[in-house]
Protein backbone atom coordinates (compact mmCIF):
# COMPACT_ATOMS: atom_id res chain seq x y z
CA UNK A 1 0.00 0.00 0.00
CA UNK A 2 1.55 3.26 -1.06
CA UNK A 3 -0.26 6.22 -2.44
CA UNK A 4 1.18 9.64 -3.23
CA UNK A 5 -0.67 12.76 -2.20
CA UNK A 6 0.39 16.21 -3.30
CA UNK A 7 -1.40 19.15 -1.85
CA UNK A 8 -0.85 22.70 -3.06
CA UNK A 9 2.78 21.85 -3.90
CA UNK A 10 4.77 24.85 -5.08
CA UNK A 11 8.31 25.35 -6.27
CA UNK A 12 10.13 28.66 -6.48
CA UNK A 13 13.70 28.33 -7.75
CA UNK A 14 16.51 30.42 -6.31
CA UNK A 15 16.31 32.87 -9.21
CA UNK A 16 12.65 33.59 -8.41
CA UNK A 17 11.22 31.37 -11.17
CA UNK A 18 7.95 29.86 -9.99
CA UNK A 19 8.10 26.53 -11.78
CA UNK A 20 5.19 24.81 -10.00
CA UNK A 21 2.31 26.96 -8.82
CA UNK A 22 0.21 24.90 -6.47
CA UNK A 23 -0.43 21.36 -7.64
CA UNK A 24 -2.79 19.00 -5.84
CA UNK A 25 -2.93 15.40 -6.97
CA UNK A 26 -3.76 12.04 -5.52
CA UNK A 27 -2.13 8.97 -7.01
CA UNK A 28 -3.73 5.82 -5.69
CA UNK A 29 -1.82 2.72 -4.65
CA UNK A 30 -0.65 0.82 -7.72
CA UNK A 31 -1.79 3.52 -10.09
CA UNK A 32 0.21 4.58 -13.14
CA UNK A 33 0.12 8.37 -13.30
CA UNK A 34 1.50 10.18 -16.33
CA UNK A 35 2.41 13.87 -16.27
CA UNK A 36 2.32 15.42 -19.68
CA UNK A 37 2.67 18.98 -20.90
CA UNK A 38 4.74 21.28 -23.05
CA UNK A 39 8.43 21.85 -22.38
CA UNK A 40 9.11 23.95 -19.31
CA UNK A 41 5.69 23.43 -17.71
CA UNK A 42 7.24 22.03 -14.52
CA UNK A 43 6.82 18.27 -14.98
CA UNK A 44 10.39 17.38 -14.06
CA UNK A 45 10.38 19.84 -11.20
CA UNK A 46 7.27 18.23 -9.72
CA UNK A 47 8.73 14.73 -10.11
CA UNK A 48 12.02 15.77 -8.55
CA UNK A 49 10.18 17.21 -5.58
CA UNK A 50 8.51 13.85 -5.04
CA UNK A 51 11.95 12.22 -5.31
CA UNK A 52 13.47 14.66 -2.82
CA UNK A 53 16.00 15.99 -5.31
CA UNK A 54 14.45 19.47 -5.08
CA UNK A 55 13.18 21.10 -1.93
CA UNK A 56 9.45 21.80 -1.76
CA UNK A 57 8.77 25.55 -1.47
CA UNK A 58 5.16 25.20 -0.35
CA UNK A 59 2.46 22.61 0.27
CA UNK A 60 3.05 19.00 1.21
CA UNK A 61 3.99 15.77 -0.47
CA UNK A 62 2.96 12.58 1.30
CA UNK A 63 3.99 9.06 0.35
CA UNK A 64 2.05 6.26 1.97
CA UNK A 65 0.47 8.69 4.40
CA UNK A 66 3.76 10.13 5.61
CA UNK A 67 4.66 13.74 4.76
CA UNK A 68 8.10 13.56 3.18
CA UNK A 69 8.90 17.26 2.64
CA UNK A 70 11.88 17.13 5.01
CA UNK A 71 12.93 13.55 4.31
CA UNK A 72 16.07 12.61 2.35
CA UNK A 73 15.61 10.90 -1.05
CA UNK A 74 17.13 7.70 0.31
CA UNK A 75 14.56 7.52 3.11
CA UNK A 76 11.54 8.03 0.86
CA UNK A 77 11.67 4.50 -0.52
CA UNK A 78 11.34 5.55 -4.13
CA UNK A 79 13.31 4.65 -7.26
CA UNK A 80 13.90 6.90 -10.22
CA UNK A 81 14.71 6.23 -13.86
CA UNK A 82 16.47 9.19 -15.46
CA UNK A 83 16.34 10.37 -19.05
CA UNK A 84 20.07 9.80 -19.50
CA UNK A 85 19.82 6.57 -17.44
CA UNK A 86 22.43 7.86 -14.95
CA UNK A 87 24.10 4.45 -14.69
CA UNK A 88 27.34 4.30 -12.71
CA UNK A 89 29.85 4.18 -15.58
CA UNK A 90 32.62 2.48 -13.60
CA UNK A 91 30.48 -0.38 -12.30
CA UNK A 92 29.34 -3.54 -14.04
CA UNK A 93 25.66 -4.00 -14.78
CA UNK A 94 25.47 -6.35 -11.81
CA UNK A 95 26.99 -3.79 -9.45
CA UNK A 96 24.82 -1.03 -10.86
CA UNK A 97 21.79 -2.99 -9.79
CA UNK A 98 23.27 -4.20 -6.51
CA UNK A 99 24.52 -0.79 -5.35
CA UNK A 100 21.25 0.38 -3.77
CA UNK A 101 20.79 -2.91 -1.96
CA UNK A 102 24.36 -2.92 -0.66
CA UNK A 103 23.94 0.61 0.68
CA UNK A 104 20.97 -0.63 2.66
CA UNK A 105 22.86 -3.58 4.07
CA UNK A 106 20.84 -6.29 2.33
CA UNK A 107 22.38 -9.75 2.86
CA UNK A 108 24.64 -10.90 0.04
CA UNK A 109 22.64 -13.89 -1.13
CA UNK A 110 19.45 -11.87 -1.17
CA UNK A 111 21.15 -9.21 -3.30
CA UNK A 112 22.29 -11.92 -5.67
CA UNK A 113 18.84 -13.43 -5.91
CA UNK A 114 17.14 -10.10 -6.51
CA UNK A 115 19.63 -8.90 -9.11
CA UNK A 116 19.40 -12.19 -11.01
CA UNK A 117 15.61 -12.06 -10.86
CA UNK A 118 15.53 -8.48 -12.21
CA UNK A 119 18.08 -9.37 -14.88
CA UNK A 120 15.90 -12.29 -15.95
CA UNK A 121 12.73 -10.19 -16.15
CA UNK A 122 14.49 -7.46 -18.12
CA UNK A 123 16.52 -9.86 -20.25
CA UNK A 124 19.89 -8.39 -19.37
CA UNK A 125 21.38 -11.62 -17.99
CA UNK A 126 24.01 -11.89 -20.74
CA UNK A 127 25.41 -8.45 -19.88
CA UNK A 128 25.70 -8.67 -16.10
CA UNK A 129 29.49 -8.38 -16.12
CA UNK A 130 29.67 -5.59 -18.73
CA UNK A 131 30.18 -1.92 -18.07
CA UNK A 132 27.39 0.43 -19.23
CA UNK A 133 29.48 1.87 -22.07
CA UNK A 134 29.48 -1.56 -23.71
CA UNK A 135 25.67 -1.61 -23.94
CA UNK A 136 23.25 -0.25 -26.53
CA UNK A 137 20.79 2.49 -25.61
CA UNK A 138 17.96 0.01 -25.18
CA UNK A 139 20.05 -2.27 -22.99
CA UNK A 140 21.11 0.67 -20.81
CA UNK A 141 17.47 1.57 -20.46
CA UNK A 142 16.73 -1.94 -19.23
CA UNK A 143 19.55 -1.80 -16.71
CA UNK A 144 18.21 1.51 -15.42
CA UNK A 145 14.82 -0.16 -15.01
CA UNK A 146 16.47 -3.09 -13.30
CA UNK A 147 18.20 -0.81 -10.85
CA UNK A 148 14.80 0.60 -9.96
CA UNK A 149 12.95 -2.69 -9.54
CA UNK A 150 15.53 -4.64 -7.48
CA UNK A 151 14.89 -2.34 -4.56
CA UNK A 152 11.13 -3.02 -4.55
CA UNK A 153 10.38 0.61 -3.73
CA UNK A 154 7.00 2.08 -2.87
CA UNK A 155 7.00 4.41 -5.87
CA UNK A 156 8.66 4.42 -9.29
CA UNK A 157 9.49 7.79 -10.78
CA UNK A 158 10.30 8.09 -14.47
CA UNK A 159 11.56 11.26 -16.14
CA UNK A 160 11.20 10.82 -19.92
CA UNK A 161 12.90 7.44 -19.77
CA UNK A 162 12.31 6.60 -23.43
CA UNK A 163 13.14 9.87 -25.11
CA UNK A 164 16.68 8.81 -26.03
CA UNK A 165 15.54 5.71 -27.90
CA UNK A 166 14.59 5.39 -31.54
CA UNK A 167 10.90 5.23 -32.46
CA UNK A 168 10.64 1.47 -32.75
CA UNK A 169 12.45 0.69 -29.52
CA UNK A 170 10.39 3.35 -27.80
CA UNK A 171 7.15 1.57 -28.62
CA UNK A 172 8.58 -1.78 -27.56
CA UNK A 173 9.85 -0.42 -24.22
CA UNK A 174 6.58 1.41 -23.66
CA UNK A 175 4.71 -1.86 -23.83
CA UNK A 176 7.24 -3.52 -21.55
CA UNK A 177 7.07 -0.79 -18.95
CA UNK A 178 3.32 -1.10 -18.90
CA UNK A 179 3.48 -4.87 -18.48
CA UNK A 180 6.10 -4.62 -15.78
CA UNK A 181 4.11 -2.06 -13.84
CA UNK A 182 0.98 -4.18 -14.11
CA UNK A 183 2.89 -7.19 -12.80
CA UNK A 184 4.60 -5.39 -9.94
CA UNK A 185 1.63 -3.14 -9.08
CA UNK A 186 3.98 -0.41 -7.94
CA UNK A 187 2.63 3.14 -7.80
CA UNK A 188 4.31 5.06 -10.62
CA UNK A 189 4.69 8.63 -11.79
CA UNK A 190 5.88 9.00 -15.34
CA UNK A 191 6.87 12.25 -17.07
CA UNK A 192 6.73 12.54 -20.83
CA UNK A 193 5.88 14.99 -23.53
CA UNK A 194 4.94 12.27 -25.98
CA UNK A 195 1.18 12.19 -25.87
CA UNK A 196 0.90 8.74 -27.37
CA UNK A 197 3.04 7.44 -24.51
CA UNK A 198 0.84 9.39 -22.13
CA UNK A 199 -2.44 8.06 -23.50
CA UNK A 200 -1.33 4.43 -23.63
CA UNK A 201 0.45 4.18 -20.28
CA UNK A 202 -1.70 6.22 -17.97
CA UNK A 203 -4.32 5.11 -15.52
CA UNK A 204 -4.44 8.73 -14.53
CA UNK A 205 -3.34 11.33 -17.04
CA UNK A 206 -2.34 14.75 -15.75
CA UNK A 207 -2.00 17.58 -18.25
CA UNK A 208 0.17 20.39 -16.94
CA UNK A 209 0.64 23.88 -18.31
CA UNK A 210 2.74 26.73 -16.91
CA UNK A 211 3.18 25.10 -13.51
CA UNK A 212 -0.47 24.21 -13.02
CA UNK A 213 -2.62 21.15 -13.55
CA UNK A 214 -5.06 21.80 -16.39
CA UNK A 215 -6.91 18.52 -16.01
CA UNK A 216 -6.40 15.12 -14.45
CA UNK A 217 -8.37 11.98 -15.15
CA UNK A 218 -8.56 8.80 -17.19
CA UNK A 219 -6.98 9.30 -20.65
CA UNK A 220 -10.25 8.77 -22.52
CA UNK A 221 -12.05 11.14 -20.18
CA UNK A 222 -9.58 13.84 -21.18
CA UNK A 223 -10.02 12.97 -24.82
CA UNK A 224 -13.78 12.96 -24.65
CA UNK A 225 -14.37 15.87 -22.33
CA UNK A 226 -11.37 18.20 -22.27
CA UNK A 227 -11.92 20.65 -19.43
CA UNK A 228 -10.02 23.55 -20.96
CA UNK A 229 -9.01 24.89 -24.34
CA UNK A 230 -5.42 23.93 -23.56
CA UNK A 231 -6.27 20.27 -22.96
CA UNK A 232 -8.49 20.27 -26.05
CA UNK A 233 -5.58 21.44 -28.18
CA UNK A 234 -2.99 19.27 -26.45
CA UNK A 235 -4.59 15.84 -26.35
CA UNK A 236 -5.23 14.18 -29.69
CA UNK A 237 -3.25 14.09 -32.93
CA UNK A 238 -3.87 15.82 -35.21
CA UNK A 239 -5.20 18.37 -32.71
CA UNK A 240 -8.81 19.38 -32.26
CA UNK A 241 -10.14 22.06 -34.63
CA UNK A 242 -10.88 25.16 -32.59
CA UNK A 243 -13.08 27.76 -34.24
CA UNK A 244 -13.90 31.06 -32.57
CA UNK A 245 -17.54 31.84 -33.18
CA UNK A 246 -18.76 35.42 -32.85
CA UNK A 247 -22.35 35.84 -31.54
CA UNK A 248 -23.63 36.52 -35.05
CA UNK A 249 -22.15 33.26 -36.37
CA UNK A 250 -19.85 32.65 -39.33
CA UNK A 251 -20.77 32.50 -43.02
CA UNK A 252 -20.40 28.99 -44.37
CA UNK A 253 -20.99 27.41 -40.96
CA UNK A 254 -24.37 26.19 -39.78
CA UNK A 255 -24.86 25.09 -36.23
CA UNK A 256 -28.10 23.69 -34.86
CA UNK A 257 -28.03 24.76 -31.19
CA UNK A 258 -25.38 27.42 -30.75
CA UNK A 259 -24.85 28.62 -27.20
CA UNK A 260 -25.34 32.36 -26.79
CA UNK A 261 -22.50 34.87 -26.90
CA UNK A 262 -18.98 34.43 -28.17
CA UNK A 263 -17.72 30.82 -27.88
CA UNK A 264 -14.95 28.61 -29.14
CA UNK A 265 -16.23 25.57 -30.96
CA UNK A 266 -14.09 22.44 -30.85
CA UNK A 267 -14.40 19.48 -33.14
CA UNK A 268 -11.89 16.66 -33.57
CA UNK A 269 -10.61 15.95 -37.09
CA UNK A 270 -11.81 12.35 -36.82
CA UNK A 271 -15.35 13.44 -36.01
CA UNK A 272 -15.83 15.46 -39.17
CA UNK A 273 -17.38 13.59 -42.07
CA UNK A 274 -17.90 14.57 -45.67
CA UNK A 275 -21.45 15.63 -45.94
CA UNK A 276 -23.24 13.97 -48.83
CA UNK A 277 -26.93 13.73 -48.39
CA UNK A 278 -26.62 13.15 -44.61
CA UNK A 279 -27.97 15.86 -42.39
CA UNK A 280 -25.74 17.07 -39.58
CA UNK A 281 -25.94 19.24 -36.46
CA UNK A 282 -22.89 21.14 -37.60
CA UNK A 283 -21.96 21.73 -41.17
CA UNK A 284 -19.18 23.83 -42.54
CA UNK A 285 -17.47 24.55 -45.81
CA UNK A 286 -13.76 24.87 -46.34
CA UNK A 287 -11.22 25.12 -49.14
CA UNK A 288 -8.70 22.29 -49.41
CA UNK A 289 -5.13 23.55 -49.11
CA UNK A 290 -3.07 20.41 -48.46
CA UNK A 291 -3.52 16.66 -48.38
CA UNK A 292 -1.38 14.20 -46.42
CA UNK A 293 -1.93 10.53 -47.16
CA UNK A 294 -0.30 8.19 -44.62
CA UNK A 295 -1.88 5.00 -45.96
CA UNK A 296 -4.51 3.95 -43.47
CA UNK A 297 -5.93 7.44 -43.33
CA UNK A 298 -5.71 10.81 -44.98
CA UNK A 299 -5.40 14.25 -43.39
CA UNK A 300 -7.00 17.07 -45.32
CA UNK A 301 -5.99 20.61 -44.36
CA UNK A 302 -8.01 23.61 -45.39
CA UNK A 303 -9.24 27.10 -44.52
CA UNK A 304 -12.72 27.83 -43.28
CA UNK A 305 -14.80 29.83 -45.75
CA UNK A 306 -15.85 32.46 -43.17
CA UNK A 307 -12.65 33.62 -41.46
CA UNK A 308 -9.87 31.40 -42.74
CA UNK A 309 -9.43 29.34 -39.52
CA UNK A 310 -7.39 26.23 -40.28
CA UNK A 311 -9.49 23.07 -40.43
CA UNK A 312 -8.12 19.53 -40.33
CA UNK A 313 -10.20 16.62 -41.49
CA UNK A 314 -9.25 13.00 -40.94
CA UNK A 315 -10.61 10.57 -43.50
CA UNK A 316 -10.21 6.82 -43.17
CA UNK A 317 -8.59 5.18 -46.18
CA UNK A 318 -7.37 7.07 -49.23
CA UNK A 319 -8.99 10.24 -50.46
CA UNK A 320 -7.58 12.80 -52.83
CA UNK A 321 -9.61 15.93 -53.22
CA UNK A 322 -7.96 18.38 -55.60
CA UNK A 323 -6.40 21.45 -54.00
CA UNK A 324 -8.74 24.41 -54.05
CA UNK A 325 -11.88 22.24 -53.95
CA UNK A 326 -14.58 23.41 -51.60
CA UNK A 327 -15.58 20.62 -49.25
CA UNK A 328 -18.72 20.51 -47.19
CA UNK A 329 -18.30 18.56 -43.96
CA UNK A 330 -20.49 17.90 -40.96
CA UNK A 331 -20.49 16.55 -37.41
CA UNK A 332 -23.06 15.38 -34.91
CA UNK A 333 -23.89 17.36 -31.79
CA UNK A 334 -22.47 14.69 -29.46
CA UNK A 335 -18.99 15.35 -30.80
CA UNK A 336 -19.00 19.12 -30.38
CA UNK A 337 -17.16 20.91 -27.58
CA UNK A 338 -17.74 24.49 -26.49
CA UNK A 339 -15.35 26.68 -24.54
CA UNK A 340 -15.51 30.14 -23.07
CA UNK A 341 -12.87 32.20 -24.94
CA UNK A 342 -12.29 34.41 -21.87
CA UNK A 343 -11.70 31.77 -19.20
CA UNK A 344 -10.71 28.91 -21.56
CA UNK A 345 -13.04 26.69 -19.52
CA UNK A 346 -15.41 24.15 -21.01
CA UNK A 347 -19.05 25.26 -21.28
CA UNK A 348 -21.51 22.64 -20.05
Amino acid sequence: MSDVRLSEVRKVYAGGVEAVKGVSLTIADGEFCVLVGPSGCGKSTLLRMVAGLETISGGTCAIDGRVVNEIEPAERDIAMVFQNYALYPHMSVYNNMAYGLRNRGTPKDEIDARVKEAARILEVEPFLERKPKALSGGQRQRVAMGRAIVRKPKVFLFDEPLSNLDAKLRIQMRVEIKKLQRALKTTSIYVTHDQLEAMTLADQLVVMNKGRVEQAGRPLELYERPATLFVAGFIGAPPMNLITLPPEGLPGLQLANKPTGKVVLGIRPEHLFEQGSKSADLSLEFTVQAVEAVGAETYIYGALGGNGTEIILREPGKASPALGTRLKVGASAANLHFFDPETSQRLA
Binding site: I78, M80, A86, Y99
Partner: protein, 293 residues
Protein backbone atom coordinates in the same frame (compact mmCIF):
# COMPACT_ATOMS: atom_id res chain seq x y z
CA UNK B 1 38.94 27.55 -58.07
CA UNK B 2 41.16 26.46 -55.25
CA UNK B 3 40.45 28.62 -52.24
CA UNK B 4 43.20 27.26 -50.04
CA UNK B 5 46.49 29.08 -49.89
CA UNK B 6 49.07 26.96 -51.64
CA UNK B 7 52.72 27.45 -50.80
CA UNK B 8 55.02 26.88 -53.69
CA UNK B 9 58.25 25.22 -52.75
CA UNK B 10 59.15 23.83 -49.39
CA UNK B 11 61.02 26.78 -47.93
CA UNK B 12 58.17 28.76 -46.39
CA UNK B 13 56.77 26.02 -44.12
CA UNK B 14 60.25 25.42 -42.73
CA UNK B 15 60.79 29.13 -42.25
CA UNK B 16 57.55 29.40 -40.33
CA UNK B 17 58.46 26.46 -38.13
CA UNK B 18 62.02 27.67 -37.62
CA UNK B 19 61.56 29.83 -34.50
CA UNK B 20 59.87 27.04 -32.56
CA UNK B 21 62.36 24.45 -33.75
CA UNK B 22 65.23 26.77 -32.89
CA UNK B 23 63.96 27.31 -29.36
CA UNK B 24 63.48 23.59 -28.83
CA UNK B 25 66.91 22.76 -30.17
CA UNK B 26 68.82 25.55 -28.43
CA UNK B 27 67.11 25.27 -25.07
CA UNK B 28 66.33 21.60 -24.92
CA UNK B 29 68.14 19.22 -27.25
CA UNK B 30 71.43 21.03 -27.18
CA UNK B 31 71.79 21.22 -23.38
CA UNK B 32 70.51 17.68 -23.10
CA UNK B 33 73.08 16.49 -25.58
CA UNK B 34 75.75 18.50 -23.78
CA UNK B 35 74.80 16.89 -20.50
CA UNK B 36 75.08 13.41 -21.98
CA UNK B 37 78.47 14.30 -23.51
CA UNK B 38 79.71 15.93 -20.30
CA UNK B 39 78.69 12.91 -18.26
CA UNK B 40 81.34 10.88 -20.07
CA UNK B 41 84.11 13.41 -19.32
CA UNK B 42 86.32 14.20 -16.35
CA UNK B 43 87.88 17.61 -15.95
CA UNK B 44 90.82 18.36 -13.69
CA UNK B 45 90.39 20.88 -10.90
CA UNK B 46 91.58 23.83 -12.96
CA UNK B 47 89.57 22.98 -16.06
CA UNK B 48 92.76 22.67 -18.08
CA UNK B 49 92.44 19.12 -19.36
CA UNK B 50 89.48 16.90 -20.10
CA UNK B 51 89.47 13.15 -20.38
CA UNK B 52 86.88 10.82 -21.89
CA UNK B 53 86.11 8.20 -19.24
CA UNK B 54 83.02 6.29 -20.49
CA UNK B 55 80.76 5.39 -17.54
CA UNK B 56 83.20 6.22 -14.76
CA UNK B 57 81.14 9.20 -13.59
CA UNK B 58 78.05 7.00 -13.30
CA UNK B 59 79.95 4.27 -11.47
CA UNK B 60 81.30 6.84 -9.04
CA UNK B 61 77.88 8.39 -8.61
CA UNK B 62 76.18 5.13 -7.72
CA UNK B 63 78.95 4.22 -5.31
CA UNK B 64 78.35 7.30 -3.17
CA UNK B 65 75.97 6.98 -0.23
CA UNK B 66 75.09 10.71 -0.54
CA UNK B 67 73.49 10.03 -3.88
CA UNK B 68 71.19 7.43 -2.41
CA UNK B 69 70.46 9.82 0.42
CA UNK B 70 69.38 12.51 -2.04
CA UNK B 71 67.25 9.91 -3.83
CA UNK B 72 65.62 9.10 -0.53
CA UNK B 73 65.12 12.80 0.25
CA UNK B 74 63.53 13.24 -3.18
CA UNK B 75 61.26 10.26 -2.62
CA UNK B 76 60.11 11.55 0.78
CA UNK B 77 59.71 15.09 -0.51
CA UNK B 78 57.79 14.10 -3.66
CA UNK B 79 55.51 11.65 -1.89
CA UNK B 80 54.61 14.19 0.77
CA UNK B 81 54.09 17.08 -1.65
CA UNK B 82 52.16 15.02 -4.20
CA UNK B 83 49.96 13.43 -1.54
CA UNK B 84 49.28 16.65 0.36
CA UNK B 85 48.73 18.90 -2.65
CA UNK B 86 46.43 16.36 -4.32
CA UNK B 87 44.32 15.64 -1.26
CA UNK B 88 44.02 19.26 -0.14
CA UNK B 89 43.18 20.38 -3.69
CA UNK B 90 40.53 17.67 -3.95
CA UNK B 91 39.01 18.79 -0.66
CA UNK B 92 38.86 22.40 -1.88
CA UNK B 93 37.45 21.38 -5.27
CA UNK B 94 34.67 19.35 -3.65
CA UNK B 95 33.74 22.39 -1.56
CA UNK B 96 33.84 24.72 -4.58
CA UNK B 97 31.70 22.29 -6.55
CA UNK B 98 29.05 22.47 -3.82
CA UNK B 99 28.91 26.21 -3.27
CA UNK B 100 29.19 27.21 -6.88
CA UNK B 101 27.54 30.55 -6.04
CA UNK B 102 30.61 32.10 -4.41
CA UNK B 103 32.90 30.03 -6.54
CA UNK B 104 34.37 32.88 -8.58
CA UNK B 105 35.95 34.62 -5.62
CA UNK B 106 36.91 31.37 -3.99
CA UNK B 107 38.49 30.04 -7.17
CA UNK B 108 40.44 33.24 -7.82
CA UNK B 109 41.93 33.08 -4.34
CA UNK B 110 42.88 29.45 -4.84
CA UNK B 111 44.49 30.08 -8.19
CA UNK B 112 46.73 32.97 -7.11
CA UNK B 113 49.55 30.93 -5.59
CA UNK B 114 50.15 29.36 -8.99
CA UNK B 115 51.13 32.76 -10.36
CA UNK B 116 53.86 33.17 -7.73
CA UNK B 117 57.38 32.30 -8.89
CA UNK B 118 58.89 29.33 -7.01
CA UNK B 119 61.79 31.34 -5.60
CA UNK B 120 59.41 34.04 -4.34
CA UNK B 121 57.24 31.36 -2.76
CA UNK B 122 60.34 29.97 -1.04
CA UNK B 123 61.32 33.38 0.31
CA UNK B 124 57.75 34.03 1.44
CA UNK B 125 57.61 30.85 3.48
CA UNK B 126 61.15 31.39 4.73
CA UNK B 127 60.11 34.77 6.11
CA UNK B 128 56.98 33.44 7.74
CA UNK B 129 58.86 30.56 9.33
CA UNK B 130 62.19 32.28 10.03
CA UNK B 131 63.07 31.01 13.53
CA UNK B 132 63.54 34.32 15.34
CA UNK B 133 61.53 36.84 13.33
CA UNK B 134 58.95 34.85 11.33
CA UNK B 135 55.32 35.52 12.24
CA UNK B 136 54.35 31.88 12.17
CA UNK B 137 57.48 30.79 14.05
CA UNK B 138 56.65 33.19 16.84
CA UNK B 139 53.19 31.70 17.05
CA UNK B 140 54.60 28.17 17.09
CA UNK B 141 57.11 29.20 19.76
CA UNK B 142 54.32 30.67 21.83
CA UNK B 143 52.74 27.23 21.81
CA UNK B 144 55.93 25.91 23.37
CA UNK B 145 57.32 24.07 20.37
CA UNK B 146 60.98 24.53 19.49
CA UNK B 147 60.74 25.42 15.81
CA UNK B 148 63.97 25.86 13.91
CA UNK B 149 64.16 24.92 10.24
CA UNK B 150 67.69 26.33 10.06
CA UNK B 151 69.00 23.66 12.40
CA UNK B 152 66.52 20.81 12.38
CA UNK B 153 66.34 18.71 9.21
CA UNK B 154 62.76 17.58 9.79
CA UNK B 155 61.65 21.15 10.35
CA UNK B 156 63.40 22.22 7.16
CA UNK B 157 61.74 19.40 5.25
CA UNK B 158 58.36 20.41 6.67
CA UNK B 159 58.99 23.99 5.54
CA UNK B 160 59.82 23.13 1.92
CA UNK B 161 57.01 20.58 1.76
CA UNK B 162 54.54 23.23 2.92
CA UNK B 163 55.80 25.82 0.44
CA UNK B 164 55.84 23.39 -2.50
CA UNK B 165 52.40 22.02 -1.60
CA UNK B 166 50.93 25.49 -1.23
CA UNK B 167 52.09 26.39 -4.70
CA UNK B 168 50.84 23.24 -6.38
CA UNK B 169 47.34 23.19 -4.85
CA UNK B 170 46.04 25.77 -7.36
CA UNK B 171 46.92 23.70 -10.38
CA UNK B 172 45.46 20.51 -8.94
CA UNK B 173 42.38 22.37 -7.76
CA UNK B 174 41.54 23.56 -11.28
CA UNK B 175 41.79 20.08 -12.74
CA UNK B 176 39.82 18.49 -9.94
CA UNK B 177 37.08 21.10 -10.22
CA UNK B 178 36.82 20.52 -13.97
CA UNK B 179 36.78 16.76 -13.34
CA UNK B 180 34.03 17.09 -10.74
CA UNK B 181 31.92 19.25 -13.00
CA UNK B 182 32.22 16.68 -15.77
CA UNK B 183 30.47 14.04 -13.62
CA UNK B 184 26.77 14.06 -14.60
CA UNK B 185 24.63 15.40 -11.78
CA UNK B 186 22.06 12.69 -12.33
CA UNK B 187 24.60 9.98 -11.50
CA UNK B 188 25.16 11.54 -8.07
CA UNK B 189 21.41 11.95 -7.63
CA UNK B 190 20.85 8.32 -8.56
CA UNK B 191 23.35 7.35 -5.88
CA UNK B 192 21.57 9.55 -3.34
CA UNK B 193 18.28 7.83 -4.14
CA UNK B 194 20.10 4.50 -3.95
CA UNK B 195 20.73 5.25 -0.30
CA UNK B 196 24.41 6.21 -0.37
CA UNK B 197 25.46 8.69 2.33
CA UNK B 198 27.46 11.72 1.09
CA UNK B 199 30.67 10.07 2.32
CA UNK B 200 29.88 6.81 0.59
CA UNK B 201 28.86 8.66 -2.57
CA UNK B 202 32.25 10.32 -2.59
CA UNK B 203 34.26 7.14 -2.19
CA UNK B 204 32.19 4.82 -4.36
CA UNK B 205 31.09 7.16 -7.16
CA UNK B 206 32.90 10.50 -7.30
CA UNK B 207 36.40 9.34 -6.44
CA UNK B 208 36.45 6.44 -8.93
CA UNK B 209 35.03 8.67 -11.65
CA UNK B 210 37.78 11.21 -10.94
CA UNK B 211 40.52 8.61 -11.23
CA UNK B 212 41.67 9.63 -14.73
CA UNK B 213 42.14 13.19 -13.47
CA UNK B 214 43.86 11.99 -10.32
CA UNK B 215 46.25 9.81 -12.25
CA UNK B 216 47.12 12.56 -14.69
CA UNK B 217 47.73 14.96 -11.82
CA UNK B 218 49.87 12.44 -10.00
CA UNK B 219 52.25 12.27 -12.95
CA UNK B 220 52.30 16.04 -13.40
CA UNK B 221 52.87 16.56 -9.68
CA UNK B 222 55.74 14.13 -9.51
CA UNK B 223 57.43 15.90 -12.40
CA UNK B 224 56.74 19.17 -10.60
CA UNK B 225 58.36 18.09 -7.36
CA UNK B 226 61.31 16.63 -9.23
CA UNK B 227 62.18 19.85 -11.06
CA UNK B 228 60.07 22.89 -10.38
CA UNK B 229 60.67 22.91 -6.66
CA UNK B 230 64.31 23.82 -7.20
CA UNK B 231 63.51 27.51 -6.72
CA UNK B 232 61.67 26.90 -3.44
CA UNK B 233 64.45 24.79 -1.97
CA UNK B 234 67.14 27.19 -3.13
CA UNK B 235 65.37 30.17 -1.58
CA UNK B 236 64.20 28.51 1.62
CA UNK B 237 66.91 26.07 2.74
CA UNK B 238 69.56 25.75 0.04
CA UNK B 239 69.37 22.02 0.53
CA UNK B 240 70.30 22.33 4.20
CA UNK B 241 70.63 21.93 7.02
CA UNK B 242 73.33 19.32 6.49
CA UNK B 243 71.82 18.35 3.10
CA UNK B 244 68.56 17.44 4.81
CA UNK B 245 66.50 18.92 2.01
CA UNK B 246 68.89 18.22 -0.86
CA UNK B 247 66.75 16.68 -3.58
CA UNK B 248 68.25 15.20 -6.73
CA UNK B 249 67.73 18.31 -8.80
CA UNK B 250 69.24 20.48 -6.09
CA UNK B 251 72.24 18.17 -5.87
CA UNK B 252 72.83 18.53 -9.62
CA UNK B 253 73.11 22.24 -9.04
CA UNK B 254 75.20 22.18 -5.88
CA UNK B 255 77.67 19.53 -7.12
CA UNK B 256 78.03 21.14 -10.51
CA UNK B 257 78.18 24.80 -9.62
CA UNK B 258 79.44 24.95 -6.10
CA UNK B 259 81.33 21.63 -6.08
CA UNK B 260 82.80 22.10 -9.54
CA UNK B 261 82.23 18.43 -10.42
CA UNK B 262 80.87 18.96 -13.91
CA UNK B 263 81.07 15.35 -15.06
CA UNK B 264 79.37 13.99 -11.96
CA UNK B 265 76.70 16.63 -12.07
CA UNK B 266 76.07 15.93 -15.76
CA UNK B 267 75.69 12.22 -14.99
CA UNK B 268 73.11 13.14 -12.32
CA UNK B 269 71.21 15.23 -14.86
CA UNK B 270 71.12 12.31 -17.23
CA UNK B 271 69.76 10.03 -14.51
CA UNK B 272 67.07 12.62 -13.75
CA UNK B 273 66.28 12.92 -17.43
CA UNK B 274 65.83 9.17 -17.71
CA UNK B 275 63.47 9.20 -14.73
CA UNK B 276 61.39 11.98 -16.27
CA UNK B 277 61.30 10.33 -19.68
CA UNK B 278 60.04 7.18 -17.98
CA UNK B 279 57.35 9.19 -16.18
CA UNK B 280 56.34 10.95 -19.38
CA UNK B 281 56.13 7.64 -21.20
CA UNK B 282 53.72 6.38 -18.55
CA UNK B 283 51.69 9.53 -18.96
CA UNK B 284 51.49 9.22 -22.72
CA UNK B 285 50.54 5.60 -22.61
CA UNK B 286 47.90 6.61 -20.16
CA UNK B 287 46.54 9.50 -22.23
CA UNK B 288 46.28 7.12 -25.17
CA UNK B 289 43.99 4.92 -23.15
CA UNK B 290 42.18 8.01 -21.87
CA UNK B 291 39.62 6.59 -19.45
CA UNK B 292 39.70 3.61 -17.19
CA UNK B 293 36.04 2.75 -17.15
Amino acid sequence: MEKRVVFHGKLLPYLLLAPQLLITIVFFYWPAGQAVWQSFLVQDAFGLSTEFVWFENYALLFSKPEYYKSMWTTAVFSTLVAFLSLSIALLFAVQADKHIKFATGYKTLLIWPYAVAPAVAGVLWLFMFQPSLGLVSQAIRALGFQWNPLLDQDHAMALVVMAATWKQISYNFLFFLAGLQAIPKSVIEAAAIDGATPMRRFWTIIFPLLSPTTFFLLVVNVVYVFFDTFGIIDAATQGGPAKGTETMVYKVFSDGRSGGDLGGSAAQSVVLMVIVIALTAIQFRYVERKVQY
